[in-house]
Symmetry: C2
Subunit: 331 residues, 2 copies
């Protein structure tokens, strides 16, 4: 159990929302009867693919970098990421006047590398299966006097992502709706646990579920076991954004207390959700970003049928060639 | 010059916003550096493709139908439309408990017909080149005792669409930005003139431009001539949503006073804008809905270079097969 002082609070999320003002966009909540019909439930989609940099990661990066004091900014920041955290950090670094170096897997989508470079970020590639991105990042940080910006297991990152939950809960309240459940994809778990902390205060009856690739179900198994379990190395999925080896220590401490359980989706489920999102919601979702919608429309547990379900679509950074393949598929 | 009492006022737009509460969504304003670079200006995109029913038309339909008194609702409503007004009217009719019959061209996109039917609307098809949709609508209305809901040349429709402008101007104010110009596609002109009335009050220095297919440039020519001019019959464009024969009488009376001029785009420009919108903004725009973005990124007049330009992306109701063809194109 981590030191409780390392865990974010609801008040940290409120403070993050203040820091994000002017940098982060309020994303809409979208609905469509055809998606409700597929799911057998009422589905409310918060479209974080429409966020600045194309994913929710801008929220945490802004909150973290805003708190680096001016005298600590010269050495810049280092982050490792498959691409969405990378873009969030690169953008926040540019806005706060810091250099950024990002350690990315050599198979990251081109659109994510382009996003980092467009914000002036320097990319260092590594081999996902042979090299340790943590070691590379720590070495770079030591060489440059840079601040390492973790992608999820960090109080300020979790609180920063949690503003998506703050917004979502308030949007539902404004519409006079209360969510019975919420589904969010999980990599390291920074977003879902930030959201869970926001909902604990604002909508405590909403039960919160993870969504993951079925071969990469570390959160589902860890929640079932009550301890952190890892994925077998080398498992594959189209959901590049959420292939983290295991839950974080901080995020799991929060998740164990606040999450209801885990849902598993196949690549075909994800493609189906991406097609539905484009056709009916008019949004471009990336594979990892569509995992929770896939769980809602294809794998919804019986206990959630007929209920009001919140779904996070977390990112839209997919190469157009891959997006085309998905639209052409019919599985 | 039409009777001034037939023209909507800013106060009518405020009243429309009240009537729309709970039926219409606040759509986000999206930006991306790559789009700014293409345009040579700062582009702020209001994404009405994310509106309920997939286009701004829900705004006007809600405002119009909300004002039909209970004793007038039994006969239902009749509308003619290529598809977006159709869906707005069908949805509003369902919400207000009225039957709806929609006169649609036989070549309307499938997704638009599906949308009407999903809301319980009855579709009567007509041949765009041989039959008069006005005559068919009037006959149906007489037979059924139904209210004809015009698609643009109507005080309540214009005021209802104008709430998109109210929202846009307020969103820009909240972000501390002022638009130098705004570009909006025009069919009959209900949206752009409603927006112009909202901006006249809230952002009077913003100059407002139409965007149209180059072979279907009735607004541009009419504004240049100072009188309503028509398109030659049978002109073709992929922008199915905005192929209206000529400006409306009410909308032109407003437009003549408040619009700066007209921009013309090719089908290739529109495809390019649809690709940019998907890749960078993560939205699905239909061809007509992307015409203003096409004008911004491919046909921006020199006087608007370097300025802050608002752009309406007005709808996203495109058949997926057609959307795929656009993503595969590179013109």
């Amino acid at each position: 159990m981590p030191d409780p002082s390392l865990l974010p609070t609801f008040e940290d999320i409120l403070a993050a929302a203040e820091r994000q003002r002017g940098y982060v966009r309020t994303t809409p909540v979208l609905t469509h009867a055809a998606i409700d019909a597929e799911a057998g439930a009422r589905i409310f989609v918060k479209a974080e693919c429409l966020q600045v940099t194309g994913s929710f990661k801008m929220r945490g990066a802004t909150n973290r970098l805003a708190q680096i004091p001016p005298e600590g900014r010269a050495g810049g920041v280092v982050a490792f990421s498959s691409g969405n955290h990378a873009q969030g950090v690169a953008r926040a670094a540019r806005l706060f006047g810091m250099p950024a170096v990002i350690v990315m897997p050599s198979d990251a989508p081109q659109v994510k590398m382009d996003g980092v470079r467009a914000d002036g970020g320097e990319i260092v590639l590594y081999d996902r299966n042979r090299e340790s991105r943590e070691e590379i990042s720590n070495r770079l940080a030591a060489e440059r006097g840079a601040v390492v910006v973790p992608s999820y297991d960090d109080r300020d990152i979790i609180a920063g992502q949690g503003t998506a939950g703050l917004e979502f809960a308030r949007q539902m309240q404004a519409d006079g709706e209360a969510l019975d459940a919420l589904i969010c994809c999980t990599g390291g778990g920074g977003l879902i646990t930030g959201i869970a902390l926001a909902f604990e205060r604002l909508s405590p009856d909403t039960r919160i579920w993870t969504a993951e690739p079925e071969a990469h179900d570390d959160w589902a198994r860890s929640l079932e076991a009550g301890v952190i379990l890892s994925n077998a190395p080398g498992t594959r999925s189209i959901c590049d954004a959420i292939l983290t080896p295991e839950p974080g220590k901080l995020t799991f401490a929060i998740g164990k207390r606040l999450l209801a359980g885990g849902l598993r989706v196949s690549d075909a489920d994800v493609r189906g959700a991406m097609r539905l999102a484009a056709r009916h919601l008019k949004i471009v979702a990336e594979p990892g970003g569509a995992a929770a919608l896939a769980a809602a429309v294809r794998r919804l547990p019986d206990e959630l049928k007929g209920k009001r379900i919140g779904v996070l679509v977390t990112g839209g950074n997919v190469d157009m060639a891959d997006f085309l393949k998905v639209l052409l598929s019919d599985d």
